[in-house]
Every structure is written in structure tokens, then in C-alpha cells.
Symmetry: C2
Subunit: 193 residues, 2 copies
């Protein structure tokens, strides 16, 4: 998506070999005009798959999920919460998400009532790196017998295996920008994204 | 705001004497149509105050801030992050937020660059109880010499002192619904809200 690629080229910061900072327009400060254009792009890509719910994880996925849901005709958004349930509850489903960056395993959880069986779910997230967050959300959907119609990502790190794994598993994945490398602080974007 | 009051009456759950659960349409599952109608209501209330930035705190404030910012012509959203900075950084400003519920003090923080001096800030949040989160965000604005043009709240707990304190301090406060009491699980809404 051209508008996001331009924002990354103009404002994004590459750190080391694998960190892409988009704090200034996506993850801390939000460029609201760009956000809703991204929502339109995901809606265009997934409208024919008839999602009836957008699923994301708090916190930084929420704004993007809301923009996509709005463009899809104001379908509901559900955001998974981080952390295990304090009390094991029959109302909750949860899934582990391993962080390769922090080398820790965290749980994400959702109230079953908000992810009804047979839902058609569009998963939206800001980043796709190792694919652990997407995999965790897909597991929540599986546990609820909901159908994942696709995964919409803002920034895919093309040099990490998440995107390849999802595509190989036959998941419809739409990344609005794909970063192929970070070279001396410069973010190298894939052309076809 | 009639639409929010109806959602609270139909779906909200009152627990004990002071907990209002709006998980099913605002804080975990989001009713996107209602969300954008709320954004319009805040925009109508604050448009003449010419805010150029919407400030909130992660995570559940983000969706509401995005809806308000969209209705105000896609002005930027900045969300404060929870937790103290790991490394004290000259780029960050932070403020303490005391939780009366958990009897703990937490920090909220923001990158200075995203809250420019002389900004005209509309603060948006889901709940107003003791007013600590709003006070923390107002302190961040004060530290950045930014002007708070007002505070927009979804659900004010009228039986807790936050709203009164803000109004007494001369802050323009617009709460879309005010809960006056919880009586035997029933949520009593103030008429004029």
C-alpha cells in the first residue's frame, strides 16, 4: 500500500538488523488519516471473504482493527487481552504466544461470548515477525470453532519466518508493507507490497 | 448520549456497589457503530475548542480516541503507555496514576515528540472514576506546555469524585453517560447525561 510505504520511508526508523520503529505514525502517535486508508485497503482485500468480526490483540492492534471494521461496514472488533486469567474461568479461552525477542511465553485470552462459534474472523495486527501473535489468535479461533477468513498486517518483516509460515499453511495473508531488510539504519521495502 | 445509555441499560452489568462492566460493547468486544457515534458526539461537543490532537491511555481508550479523532477531521491520536520507562530518557515525560481500586501507583509515559508544545489537546478515556488517569494525562500536557481543551469520557461514575474534581477545576468535561449508583446489580443512569 503506497501511502504506508511512503510513511515508512519518510518517518520509519530502522534499528540494528531487525527493529522497525513506526512509533510516530502507527504505534504511539497515530496518523489517523493513514490509519483509515489502511482500514480501506484491508476491507477491499477481505470484503469478499465476508468477515463478521475483526480480532486483534491489545494494545497497538486496536486502532487498526477499528479502522478495518469501520471500512467493512462497522462489524464488531474483539481484542484479546494479554496475560493469563487470574482465576481460571470457563468463560475464557486462552492461547500461548512466544516472544522470540524477549524469550518469554505470554498468554492471550478472550471471553468466549465475544467470539461466537461459526464466526468469520478477520485477524488484524500491526506487525508480523515470527507469526506467534497471529498463530495465538488463530488458536483462539480454532478453540471456538470460528473460521479465520484471513490475516491483515500493517508491517510484515519479510526477513522473519511468520509470513512464509502463514502462506505455506494456506492462510490468506495481506501485508500492507513488507520490510525485506534493515541495512545501516535504512529500511528496505519489498516492491510488490 | 442516548445510544450509549441504551447500550448500558441493555447490556451493561453492575457488580457490587461500584463496578460497571461494559465489556460486551466497549472494552473487550467493541460495537463499532456505537463507537463512531460516540466519536461524533465528542466531536460535536469539542469542535469549537479546536483540538489538534487527541490524547488517551492504552489500551481500552485507544478505540474511542480514534473515533473522536476521525470525527474531528482525522487529527492525530497519541496514546500514553503504561509503566515507567526502563531507561530514564530525556525524550520521555511521565506522570504517576494512583489506582484506588488496586491501591498501587503506576506511571504513564509519552514520547515528548508526539505531544508538541502549544498543542491543543482533547483527552479521551473510557471511564472516569477518581479522575486519576485524566489527572495524569493533564500533568503530561502541563509538562509539555500543551493546552487541554477538554476531557471526553464514555462512562462517568457519578458516585466517585473524579467528575466533580475536574468540573471544580474549571475543566470542560463531557461524559456521554453518567452512572449515579449500582443498586442490586441495576445500573442507575443520570437523566441529563
Amino acid at each position: 500500500m503506497e501511502q504506508l510505504r511512503e510513511a515508512i520511508e519518510r518517518q520509519g526508523v530502522g534499528l540494528g538488523t531487525d527493529i522497525v520503529k513506526v512509533d510516530m505514525f502507527l504505534n504511539h502517535r497515530i496518523d489517523t488519516g493513514l490509519l483509515f486508508a489502511m482500514g480501506e485497503a484491508w476491507a477491499e482485500a477481505f470484503r469478499d471473504d465476508r468477515p463478521d468480526l475483526v480480532l486483534t490483540v491489545e494494545a497497538s492492534g486496536i486502532a487498526m482493527a477499528v479502522a478495518a471494521a469501520h471500512a467493512l461496514g462497522d462489524i464488531p472488533v474483539v481484542f484479546a487481552k494479554k496475560g493469563a486469567t487470574v482465576v481460571q474461568s470457563a468463560d475464557m479461552v486462552q492461547a500461548p504466544v512466544y516472544s522470540f525477542t524477549h524469550k518469554t511465553q505470554n498468554m492471550i485470552r478472550i471471553d468466549k461470548r465475544y467470539l461466537p462459534e461459526n464466526s468469520r474472523v478477520l485477524i488484524i495486527d500491526d506487525f508480523l515477525a515470527d507469526g506467534e501473535a497471529a498463530r495465538g489468535m488463530m488458536l483462539l479461533c480454532e478453540k471456538r470453532k470460528a473460521t479465520v477468513v484471513g490475516v491483515g498486517i500493517a508491517v510484515e518483516k519479510g526477513f522473519q519466518p511468520g509470513g512464509r509460515k502463514l502462506r505455506e499453511a494456506g492462510v490468506k495473508l495481506v501485508s500492507l508493507a513488507i520490510v525485506d531488510a534493515i541495512e545501516d539504519g535504512r529500511i528496505v521495502l519489498r516492491e510488490q507490497a
